[in-house]
């Protein structure tokens, strides 16, 4: 029997999840209330929902609330966090899209209870395609770097991207740090060599 704790704030979602899971006789929803400490610590898998913005807060509250080291956590993401974020939250071992089917949800709970990691393919492979396309840079930094390669000054980059010159300076300095360079020429060279600027 896999004991599952539903740690979601919306009563409707909680009721829905309980209903979905009831079809699997090997899964037992132990409690869906956050107030009863004794039951929570016995859960094998905690199901929680979180948006990207509240992810860290949610994860922190979970870590505080469920102190049993064996409880794996399945996260229902509304917009999906990436694998890097997932790895930072030590106890989140599974991520499922919010529109997952009952079969996917029960399969994920079974997998997590066996100590496996669960996630949709596009999420797990993001870690491979991301760095290849942009290197260590964010999307905005990549845009700034591409404009640096055409020789634009900060002010002109600001106009081109519709952001302030101050923000451009911030991005440029961040690019320098990430690429370990000290000037624009080196930044562009590194960007081209690394294959992060499209030609």
């Amino acid at each position: 029997m896999i004991r599952v704790l539903l740690n979601v704030s919306s009563p409707a979602l909680r009721a829905g999840l309980r209903e979905l899971l009831s079809s699997d006789k090997t899964i037992k929803v132990v409690n869906d209330s956050l107030d009863e400490d004794d039951l929570r610590s016995e859960a094998d898998v905690v199901v929680t929902s979180a948006s990207r913005a509240s992810l860290f807060r949610g994860a922190a509250s979970l870590n505080n609330a469920t102190d049993s080291s064996s409880a794996a956590i399945l996260l229902l993401g509304e917009d999906q966090p990436n694998v890097q974020e997932m790895k930072r939250m030590t106890r989140v071992w599974g991520i499922l899209p919010a529109d997952s089917s009952a079969e996917e949800l029960t399969a994920a709970i079974h997998a997590l209870s066996q100590g496996l990691i669960v996630g949709p393919p596009n999420l797990l492979f993001e870690s491979e395609s991301g760095p290849l396309e942009r290197g260590p840079l964010t999307e905005r930094e990549s845009e700034v770097l591409a404009l640096l390669a055409t020789g634009l000054a900060n002010k002109q980059i600001a106009v081109s991207l519709g952001i302030s010159e101050h923000t451009v300076k911030f991005h440029v300095s961040s690019i320098y740090t990430k690429l370990n360079v000290t000037n624009r020429t080196e930044a562009v060279r590194e960007g081209l060599r690394g294959g992060w600027i499209a030609l």
Partner: protein, 300 residues
């Protein structure tokens, strides 16, 4: 008997005078003005970095002391060039010369004040490029000289001893205010585009690449001793390269017959002249050379 030193000096003064007749004052920034070259009767070619004031507040000082309002016709920060337009045809267009050699005697001329032209002389120390400028852009070719870049010389001409323009001097492309000269072959082409379109087009393939070593067997297949090529890592969906039939995993070895072994080579090859035209891209595919025709797009 004539004094050869006086003759020599006279040659320099008449060259400065002739070039100076097509050198104007460009007042478009704070503190001191800079210089410009009469590109056409109503067009001034100058350095992009000396224009910091808004359009509508730019003035051009003519050799006869008159000051005219000018508008910005176009600018290209990558090559540090800009073209200003006058309302009337008041200029004497500069005469140009294409042949420049290392060791050649040259004059750098500027008109940074109403007091008249200023000059500095020296020899051409190097002709180089393509190179990345400290602004991050790419310069196909540049001239280094021994001339002294006095304040306000940016935008002014480098002259030969005939008083013909060899290029445009600027301190905006290198560090520590050392100057370099953009040769006429590059500057006049950019000026033409700026006057016509207001900006300079750049070619675009829609690829991201990394430099890789070409193995010996493939080098033999290429029939030349080219050590590096550009491995295609990414193709823009429906981009020029993908439409032309390039694949991820191809190694680009040459563009339009010129070998490329560094991304900068590719960047330099994609000049404005290539936009919209088919270009032969030689790739190594499975170790064998193949040529793919790609219609070059425009970098936005």
């Amino acid at each position: 008997m004539s004094n050869p030193l006086t003759d020599f000096s006279n040659i320099l003064t008449s060259a400065a005078e002739k070039g100076g007749a097509s050198t104007v004052l460009v007042d478009a920034r704070k503190r001191y003005p800079a210089s410009g070259i009469a590109y056409a009767a109503d067009l001034v070619l100058t350095a992009d970095h000396v224009i910091t004031r808004e359009d509508g507040d730019i003035k051009v000082g003519l050799p006869d002391g008159k000051s005219l309002k000018a508008s910005l016709a176009g600018r290209d920060p990558g090559s540090d060039l800009a073209v200003l337009r006058l309302a009337e045809k008041a200029l004497t267009p500069a005469q140009t010369a294409d042949d420049v050699k290392v060791g050649q005697l040259v004059l750098a001329v500027g008109r940074p004040s109403d007091a008249g032209i200023q000059a500095s002389w020296g020899i051409v120390t190097a002709i180089a490029g393509p190179a990345r400028t400290h602004r991050g852009g790419m310069l196909e070719k540049y001239i280094k000289t021994e001339t002294t870049p006095y304040p306000g010389f940016s935008g002014g001409p480098l002259l030969n001893t005939e008083g013909e323009v060899l290029g445009l001097n600027t301190s905006g492309l290198s560090h520590h205010s050392s100057a370099l000269t953009i040769p006429v072959s590059v500057a006049w082409r950019v000026a033409d585009e700026l006057a016509k379109h207001g900006s300079v087009k750049r070619g675009y393939l829609g690829v991201r690449t990394q430099t890789v070593e070409i193995p010996e067997a493939a080098r033999n297949a290429l029939k030349r001793d080219q050590k590096g090529g550009l491995l295609v890592l990414w193709l823009e969906e429906n981009g020029p390269a993908q439409k032309g039939g390039l694949f991820v995993g191809d190694t680009i070895a040459a563009i339009a017959g010129t070998s490329v072994s560094d991304p900068d080579d590719l960047f330099a090859a994609l000049t404005s002249g290539t936009v919209g035209k088919p270009i032969a891209v030689e790739v190594l595919r499975g170790g064998k050379p193949e040529t793919v025709n790609v219609t070059v797009g425009e970098r936005k």
